[in-house]
């Protein structure tokens, strides 16, 4: 845990954070609004005291209520991984700004998040499905997505929600298996 990173982050981004800075093991976590994403990332990347130059990961998360986009960053100035959570994307129409301007390498990760969770990254010039076929309509990693032969549910798992290849894009108001307090 790097306590100084906490103070530095608090100093630089105090008005942008939506929650407390959490630290556990070798990870520091900040939470921001998706609208502030570009500016926060620019600060994190360019500020000489932070210099988070390497984007280690970009993950979309469906918490059951809302969507999140989670970034992991690495910098030479701290022994911690920095986790940036852009939270509170509505499940019906999740939209987040694209980071391809800052890290062009995020393009495919954003495509993957779009493909798997339906998060639309505005500004990504090539936001199409990357794994699933182009005529596919569901978003498989959403929490309300089940396959008809999802045997891991067990026989008594209740009603099974069936994959819908041709359902309209926004029809995702299925019952939610479980949610996490995000």
């Amino acid at each position: 845990m790097d306590r100084t990173l906490r103070t530095r982050l608090a100093a630089k981004l105090a008005d942008r954070l939506t929650g407390p800075i959490r630290q556990r093991h070798d990870q520091t976590e900040i939470r921001i609004r998706p609208a502030d994403l570009i500016e926060v990332m620019r600060v994190l990347h360019d500020d000489p005291e932070l210099e988070f130059v390497i984007l280690a990961d970009l993950a979309g998360v469906d918490t059951g209520d809302t969507m999140q986009v989670v970034y992991h960053l690495w910098s030479n100035k701290t022994p911690d991984w920095l986790r940036v959570i852009a939270e509170g994307l509505p499940r019906g129409d999740p939209r987040a700004p694209s980071l391809t301007g800052l890290w062009p390498g995020a393009e495919w990760m954003e495509r993957e998040a779009y493909d798997m969770l339906g998060i639309v990254f505005e500004g990504n010039r090539d936001l199409r499905r990357i794994y699933m076929p182009p005529d596919y309509k569901s978003f498989p990693l959403r929490k309300d997505f089940y396959l008809p032969d999802d045997s891991a549910r067990g026989p008594g798992g209740g009603v099974r929600h069936v994959e819908e290849p041709y359902a309209p894009l926004a029809a995702t108001t299925r019952s939610i298996r479980r949610t996490v307090k995000a």
Partner: protein, 219 residues
């Protein structure tokens, strides 16, 4: 790159020529077998640990994952009472719950499985002894058993297999290929309600399992 152009090519050709005469790495299967480590898990066989118990955890993952459903698992249950047979995935789900519980260290419901009543197999021993435990006399022995019990109970067949040393599959195959041998007692109702009569034992098991899961005493 070397200073003299072409020397790298010559070096490479020298290396291949040396390897041309070197001993070869091929293992000439089937004449010659590869050297397999004792710990190797990839064999298609059930392994026993140093205490003589099966290493297979009967997690049924293999049967579930098998894409062509060629793995179906069968064997004798843990008490050695009867033959269990778990086919491909449909029976997997409930079973998996049990194995998950066992891995989690929680008590697994002792399934009061009463599909086959405990039975006295001394007549089988006597019959086998009369035929000098000779597997060649399988048909007369089976006929005698049927005469003794009225039908061929599975436990009797298993016992016969154990006594004579013939494979169970062999005994079962012989018994099933003759029309005059039967596996059910002739008094058994012919058409039990599907899924009711046959499944009653399993229903008991499932209720016991559910009780164990929910922590309540079985009804």
């Amino acid at each position: 790159m070397t200073t003299v152009p072409g020397m790298g090519l010559v070096h490479g050709m020298g290396l291949t020529l040396r390897r041309f005469f070197a001993p070869k790495a091929t293992i000439m299967w089937p004449e010659q077998n590869a050297d397999v480590a004792p710990r190797f898990r990839g064999r298609l066989q059930l392994l026993y640990d140093e205490y003589g118990t099966l290493k297979c955890e009967t997690c049924f993952q293999c049967a579930q994952a098998c894409p062509i459903e060629c793995i179906d698992m069968g064997g004798v249950d843990t008490r050695g009472r009867f033959h269990v047979h778990w086919g491909p995935p449909e029976t997997y789900g409930e079973r998996r719950e049990e194995s998950a519980m066992r891995r989690a260290g929680r008590p697994v419901a002792d399934a009061a499985f009463t599909r086959f009543d405990p039975m006295d197999v001394t007549p089988v021993t006597a019959i086998a002894e009369a035929h000098d435990f000779e597997p060649k006399d399988l048909l007369p022995m089976l006929e005698d058993i049927q005469a003794a019990y009225g039908y061929l109970p599975v436990a009797a067949l298993k016992h016969l297999s154990r006594q004579t040393g013939a494979w169970y599959a062999f005994v079962y195959g012989a018994a099933s290929s003759f029309k005059h041998l039967r596996f059910e007692p002739p008094t058994m109702p012919a058409a039990a309600p599907a899924g009711e009569g046959l499944r009653s034992a399993e229903a008991g098991y499932v209720s016991a399992l559910g009780a164990a899961l929910s922590g309540k005493a079985p009804a």
